[in-house]
C-alpha cells in the first residue's frame, strides 16, 4: 500500500523527477488561479457582482475578518500568506473525493514544506514589524534563561503543524482505503464525508495557527504580559 504520493514519479523535468505530489499541486494551483482569474476579469465598480464574484468576495471577506479578529488589524501581507495557506489546503483536502487524485496534503513533504514556510514567515513578519533586534529580543524574554525554550518552542510549532496536517489527511485517506477493502459499499462513503469535514477543519486550523503565530510575532506586547497566545488542538 502506497502511503505517500511522493513515491509515484510521473515524469522528469530538467533532470528532476516530478512526482504526483508536485504535479497535483500544480493542478490545484492552476485550478485556484484559473478560477480566480476567470471570475475577477473585467471587474467594474458600476456593474453589480454576479454570483461567482459574490462567492469569491464572501470567501475573501471571511478570511479577512478571521485574520482581523486574531491580529486586531488589517494587514494585506498576512491575508496573502494565511489566505493562500487556507485556500490551498482546503482545495487539496476537498479533492480527496476525486477518484485517483492523490492529494498533496497527504504527503509529509508537502506539510513539511508548508510548516517550513510558516516557520520562515513568522520571523520575517516579526522582523518586518519590530525590527531584527526587537524580534530577537523576544527570545530572551522574560529572561535569557528562556532562550533555549523559546527556540525549541519555535521549532516545535512547525513540527506540530506539519505532523498534525499530514497525520489527519493521510490517516483519513488510509482509513478510507482500508475500509474500501473491508466494506466497499457503505463505510467508504461515510469516511469520505468525514474526510471532507476533517479536511476543511484542518485547513482552517493550519491557517489560523499560522496567523496566530504571525500575530504573536508582530504584536507589540505589553511589558506585564509576555506569554504567547497559542491554540492547542487535538
Amino acid at each position: 500500500m502506497q502511503l505517500t504520493p511522493d513515491d509515484s514519479i510521473l515524469f522528469t523535468l530538467l533532470g528532476l523527477p516530478v512526482n504526483a505530489t508536485i504535479f497535483n499541486t500544480w493542478i490545484i494551483m492552476a485550478v485556484l488561479a484559473g478560477v480566480a482569474a476567470l471570475i475577477t476579469r473585467n471587474l467594474r465598480p458600476d456593474v453589480p457582482p454576479n454570483r461567482w464574484r459574490t462567492a469569491l468576495e464572501v470567501t475573501v471577506n471571511g478570511i479577512v475578518s478571521q485574520i482581523a479578529e486574531i491580529t486586531g488589524r488589517h494587514d494585506p501581507r498576512v491575508l496573502y500568506f494565511s489566505g493562500t495557506l487556507f485556500l490551498f489546503i482546503v482545495t487539496a483536502n476537498l479533492l480527496t473525493v476525486v477518484p485517483g487524485f492523490d492529494t498533496p496534503t497527504a504527503s509529509l513533504s508537502t506539510t513539511v514544506a508548508l510548516a517550513l514556510s510558516v516557520l520562515i514567515a513568522v520571523p520575517m513578519f516579526g522582523i518586518g514589524s519590530r525590527g531584527i533586534m526587537g524580534y530577537l529580543k523576544t527570545y530572551i524574554e522574560p529572561s535569557i534563561i528562556m532562550l533555549p525554550f523559546n527556540i525549541i518552542s519555535e521549532f516545535s510549532r512547525g513540527i506540530s503543524l506539519a505532523i498534525r496536517l499530514y497525520g489527519n489527511i493521510m490517516s483519513g485517506a488510509v482509513i478510507a482505503a482500508i475500509l474500501l477493502g473491508v466494506a466497499p459499499f457503505f463505510f467508504p462513503v461515510v469516511m469520505n464525508m468525514l474526510g471532507l469535514l476533517t479536511g476543511v477543519i484542518q485547513a482552517y486550523i493550519f491557517a489560523i495557527l499560522a496567523t496566530v503565530y504571525i500575530s504573536s510575532a508582530t504584536a507589540v506586547q505589553p511589558a506585564s504580559d509576555t506569554s504567547e497566545t497559542t491554540k492547542e488542538t487535538p
Binding site: 528532476l16 505530489t21 500544480w26 482569474a37 509529509l108 513533504s109
Partner: protein
Amino acid sequence: MSIDWITVGAQIVNFLVLIWLLKKFLYRPILDGIDAREAEISERMGEAAAVRTSAEVKEAEYKAQIAELSASRAEMLENARRKADAERDALLAETRTRLEKEQAEREARRAEEARAFTEELHQNGAQALLDLTRKALADLADETLEQRIALHAAGQLKDMADNLRDAAGDSCDATVLTRDPLPEDVQDRLRDELAAILPDFRLRFDTDAGLSPGLNLRLGGAQVGWTTDSYLSGLDAVLEDRVGRPIRKGLTDAA
C-alpha cells in the same frame, strides 16, 4: 513515512508562486473591487444626502409658501369677490344703458311711424274733406271752392280797407296768390273791389302749387289769407280728441 527534500523545496516554491498568483488574480482584484464599490456607494450616499438636504430645504420653502398662501387666501377671495361684483355692476349698467337706448330708439321709431301715419291720415282726411266740399258746391251750387272763397274775400275787402291800407305802407303792389288760376270773372271782381278801396294799387294774379286751397293777398310786406288751413286744423283737433294726443307737430293754424 519519509520526507523527500526535493519535493519539500519544490512545494515551498510552488507555495510562493501560488501566493503570487492569488495575490494577482484573487486578493487584489477582489479587495480593489470591494474598495471601489464601497467608494462608489459612499459617493452615492453622499449624493443622496445632498439631494435629501436639498429636498428638505425645498420642502421647508414650499411649506412656508403654503402657509403664506393660506394666510392670504381670505384676502385674495375678498379681492376676487369685490372685483367680480364690480364687473357684474359694470355689465349690468352697460346692459341697462343698451336696453334704454334700444327702448328710446324703439319709441322714437314708433313715434315717427305714428307721426307719419297721422300725417298721412290728415292729408287724406283733408283731401277727402276738400273733395267732398268741392263736390257739394259743384253739385248743389254749380260753383268751385276757390271761386266761392275769392268771391267771399272780395266781399270782405271793403270792411278791411283801413287795415289793408295801413299794412301796405308805401307799397303800391298787390298780389293775389292761389293754388290754381282764378277764372276771369272772379279776377275782375277782385280787381274791382280792390280798386274801390285802394285805387293806386296795381293788382297782379299769381299761382303757387304748394298753397292750400283758397286765396292769399299780399300788400307790400303784409299778407291776408282766406284758406282751408284753419279748417284742416279743426280736423286735427277732432282727431286728437279721438287719439288722445297731438296729431302732428308744427302744424300751424291758418293765417
